[in-house]
């Protein structure tokens, strides 16, 4: 995790969309590796994934559930060892470019909305009909329009266990840590540009500290806070994987709260840091064609508090804090 976190942060310094695609692929792979290896089909699939270097995308969102990935309307149906699954997904990032898809759905047609499983739909087994466009402020390179998915394939491609466990054990922690890591990358590059700007000012008048240096110290302080948070949670997650640790800890409420807090804090700090860097660079940060341009950083940054809306996460935390004792 610490290594993947570093990769996301490094990519994020150059292209946040690329970093996001990398992160999302790793999240899907982790779901299979951590929850599917009890099945021969998924063991073979993992080998093929590495061998052929395939790209995995996910269809977790759905029209009608109001952004709650932990509930589904669509259901997988199995007959004679063959699954059929149709889903109206609001966004499927890089759906047009992915090889295979992981799709969340109800376990069966009579299952509750929250009783979900994950189904692997392989290229050739699914069809995507684009329903909406991806004409957004930022993160444009993730190419995430809506699609109507229709798929069918061997029932063995239904991931063993429940999505509830895969979600709390893997998808949520991987998402929050890797997203936060790539946001750290955006923030790092914004501060790098601001620092370069201040140094250029300082060089033009040696002997006097430019007033912007104080602002640089301030924004650098926020960047260090963000970096410490991301690294701390990446390390804590890695430690919780070691055989000495109680793996059940990952399923606890305390851990869920920490992960949610990381997501809220890092996405909020990202917007603040890029904003501060922009004030510092002034018009040169506002221009698209200047070496100090922060336009793309700003556009991409504003996606962070919206990707699983922070208010939604605050509401979940509020509910958990009613019973969680942090002592």
């Amino acid at each position: 995790m610490t290594e993947m976190s570093e990769v996301c942060a490094a990519l994020g310094q150059y292209c946040a969309s690329t970093a996001m695609v990398f992160a999302m692929h790793q999240i899907q792979v982790a779901c299979i590796v951590r929850h599917g290896l009890g099945s021969q089909m998924f063991r073979d699939y993992c080998a093929e994934l590495v061998e052929r270097q395939m790209l995995l995308a996910s269809a977790t969102s759905e029209v009608g559930v109001g952004g709650d990935t932990r509930s589904s309307i669509c259901a997988v149906e199995v007959a004679d060892g063959i699954f059929t699954l149709n889903k109206d997904a609001t966004t499927v990032s890089y759906g047009a470019n992915a090889d295979d898809l992981l799709v969340t759905c109800r376990r069966s047609v009579d299952a509750a909305r929250s009783d979900q499983v994950v189904v692997l739909a392989r290229r050739g087994q699914y069809r995507l009909d684009q329903t909406t466009n991806w004409d957004t402020l930022g993160m444009r390179g993730t190419c995430s329009p809506g699609y109507r998915l229709s798929s069918s394939g061997p029932a063995a491609q239904i991931l063993p266990g429940s999505f509830a466990d895969a979600s709390s054990h893997t998808m949520v922690p991987y998402s929050h840590i890797l997203w936060s890591s790539l946001w750290l990358g955006i923030a790092t590059d914004a501060v790098t540009r601001a620092a370069r700007f201040v140094r250029a000012e300082a060089r033009s008048k040696p002997g006097t500290t430019p007033p912007t240096a104080l602002r640089l110290a301030e924004v650098s302080n926020d960047l260090h806070t963000m970096r410490a948070m991301v690294r701390d949670m990446a390390r804590e997650f890695t430690d919780a994987q070691s055989p000495n640790e109680d793996a059940e800890a990952l399923l606890g409420m305390g851990f869920a709260l920490k992960m949610n807090n990381l997501k809220i804090a890092s996405s909020t700090l990202l917007v603040k840091i890029v904003h501060q860097a922009l004030l510092l660079c002034g018009i040169l940060g506002y221009k698209n064609d200047s070496p100090f341009s922060l336009c793309r950083h700003l556009r991409d940054a504003y996606s962070a508090p919206l990707m699983i809306g922070n208010d939604r996460i605050f509401a979940k935390n509020a509910s958990m804090l009613l019973v969680h004792k942090d002592d």
Partner: protein
């Protein structure tokens, strides 16, 4: 009223289960019966109030609230050592 009855009534009141109450037995998977994490928090809160207990952090995980039987085990563990059997301190509607 037995602990099991109290759990079943609490589930009926706060669990917002999709499945019919009469179909819930000791080992029914409550999550498959439609218990969401949000509803499970309300069930916990109600049980904490009714039994005058606090579920410690180690018990705040999905496994503990997966079935009537596992919830009962947790309550029995938390009320063990009490001189008398679990007393109902709260009001059931």
């Amino acid at each position: 009223m037995s602990i099991t009855d109290i759990i079943l009534r609490t589930l009926a009141e706060h669990g917002r289960l999709a499945a019919d109450r009469s179909l819930i037995d000791d080992h029914t998977d409550l999550y498959q019966a439609g218990l969401t994490s949000h509803a499970s928090v309300n069930v916990m809160l109600a049980l904490e109030g009714l039994f005058d207990i606090e579920f410690p952090d180690r018990m705040l995980r999905r496994g503990v609230f997966r079935s009537v039987s596992s919830i009962r085990q947790a309550i029995e563990e938390l009320t063990a050592g009490a001189a008398s059997p679990p007393q109902l301190t709260g009001e059931l509607k």
